[in-house]
Amino acid sequence: MTAIEVEGVTKLWGTTRAVDDVSFRVPEGSFVVLLGPSGCGKSTTLRILAGLEEPTAGRVLIGGRDMTRAAPAERRISMVFQSYALFPHLDVRENILFGLRVRRVAREERERRLARVAELVGLAELLDRKPAQLSGGQRQRVALARAIVSEHPICLMDEPLSNLDAKLRQEMRLELRALQRRLAMTVVYVTHDQAEAMSMADRIILMRAGRIEQEGDPDALYGQPATLFAASFIGTPPMNLLALEDGPEGAVVAGSGVTVLEGPGRGRILGIRPEHVRITEEGGVPAELLATDYLGADTVISARIGDQRLGIRVPGRFRATPGTAIRLAWSPEHLHLFDARSGRRESGPAGLRGTDPAPVRIAATASKGGGS
């Protein structure tokens, strides 16, 4: 069943289109992430779902009912704010129980739910503290508890982890995801952190400038980016995008004589993820090593083919002096091809796995591109 359905929602702030004709569905019990760079309209979209903002056009259906103009409380949703929005003068207990008191839930029921939720998020010891006496992570848990205790089927979260340090954020990701599964909650989660989106989402809605750029599960966004923007936004380091030029035997990487595929090159862009590029002893494409960045588990190498820079991710520690000549290789199924003008993926509609490497013939494998 569909928990939330958004149909052609647009929101104007004066003349800026914060949200521009956005449509998507959120299946019941799923974890959907709204992902995108700052200012792309994620928060505005979420606030429209919550009823805190009215859309300029379009409809919002919650549980099959049109809720476009309904008051927030009628929608039976809870929300975790980035700033947590805890009431500073109330202790943890009263913060969690705020909504239940508003709705005059009976005392025994209140206590029962409080005990359960406090246990669930690990706040049982801290119920008498004021928010100011809690750490950032604990405050975050209170905000979470307040959302859970309402037992609303849908929970909206606006960058709930962005105020935590990296380690805690990692832990909370797992915990949040486990909690969502366990309680079978429908979650719409806003973040600008693609790693967070990849690790938590059932479904990612990638936004740019108020529009949906691509929608799909994390695999699809990673494996079949529909646009240059999607390709460069997802993955750390992001996908290498190499401008192509026409060459004598096919498309060459701009500024080099390396033929990388058949057909025309001008106006096309070749994409390959850093983890899909290998360094080989022989064959492959000649490149110049520029720098190495050791990250512990792996090393990210910056290199140059012609005048195009690219990153290469290799496991472990890789030592080399800048300026060294290296040879790079990759497999055809890892290549992505984009139209430079429209930014769209070339080889058929996204999602049709296996069709894209088909027209690609790798010069490197035939060791033809050795000379330049």
Binding site: A73, F81, A85, F87, F98, V102
Partner: protein, 293 residues
């Protein structure tokens, strides 16, 4: 090492000196002198001032006008403090909302505060003047009996109260407005999502969070209710029959119309002591129930 530390102290004292001199000569010395003088009789050409112990205080307790004035002042305080605070809060909440032209409204509410009390009193004189005043003209238009608002002992104090509330509410509103604007908007959004009505949100969240402001405003309102007497000079001179006289105005009369310096000093000591006690009580009593951020 020691010498430089010594020098450090000297600098400190030198920096403090100007402020200390001002405080000592204009605040502490007069206070001590006033207390001192309240134990002496007022000197005349024939009888020089002499130590009389608590005689001035004894006299005060038997002074009917003193009790009348204290009573007036309590009524004045009871009339102005809650009304001006409530009105200030109401206006602040109203002006804080999404109101078209709210900058204008804010300024309009604040105007009485900017005006000097003497000017305010003059404006209100136009309202209260018998027969030709605005109030009476309105009453006459509806064929209602007119009255001498400021000349009637039954109404004069309340006329003064209304004026003071009008003057003070705008000032207090500014503090409430500042506090309201400092509240994060997400708090209201979170409450709305939980289904809290505006009234519930106000009662459970806004009002408690405004308590530090309320305490500040309350202390000011209490002090002002003993301090604001300028309007009496224009409107009533404390009359008729001391019906509108307040403690501070009585002290002024005793000192500068009756030239009884010692009795004026005695009354001043009592006023100061009362104010100090009230402020202390407010802070001690209310502080514990207030959430400070």
């Amino acid at each position: 090492m020691r010498a430089s530390r010594h020098l450090h102290h000297v600098y400190g004292w030198l920096l403090l000196t100007p402020a200390a001199i001002l405080l000592l000569s204009f605040t502490h010395y007069p206070t001590v002198a006033t207390i001192w003088q309240s134990f002496f009789s007022t000197g005349t050409a024939l009888r020089p001032s002499s130590f009389v112990g608590l005689d001035n205080y004894r006299f005060m307790l038997e002074d009917e006008i003193f009790w009348k004035v204290v009573g007036n002042n309590l009524l004045f305080a009871a009339g102005t403090i809650p009304a001006s605070i409530a009105l200030a809060l109401l206006m602040a909440v109203w002006v804080n909302g999404r109101l078209p032209g709210r900058a204008l409204v804010r300024m309009a509410y604040f105007t009485p505060t900017v005006l000097p009390m003497i000017a305010v009193a003059n404006i209100w004189l136009f309202f209260y003047t018998p027969e030709i005043g605005l109030l009476d003209q309105i009453l006459r238009a509806f064929d209602l009996p007119t009255r001498n608002w400021l000349g009637d002992p039954d109404t004069v104090l309340w006329c003064i109260v209304v004026l003071a509330v009008w003057k003070e509410a705008g000032f207090f509103m500014i503090f409430y407005l500042a506090a309201l604007q400092a509240l994060p908007p997400e708090l209201e959004e979170a409450a709305r999502l939980e289904g809290a009505s505006r009234a519930y949100y106000f009662r459970r969240v806004v009002f408690p969070l405004l308590m530090p402001t309320t305490l500040f405003v309350l202390v000011n309102a209490v002090i002002n209710s003993f301090k604001l007497v300028d309007q009496l000079f224009i409107l009533t001179k404390g009359g008729p029959d001391n019906a509108s006289s307040l403690l501070l105005y009585y002290i002024y009369e005793v000192a500068f119309s009756f030239f009884d310096d010692s009795y004026a000093a005695t009354l001043t000591v009592v006023l100061l002591a009362a104010l100090a006690l009230i402020s202390l009580g407010q802070f001690l009593f209310l502080d514990r129930r207030i959430h400070y951020r």
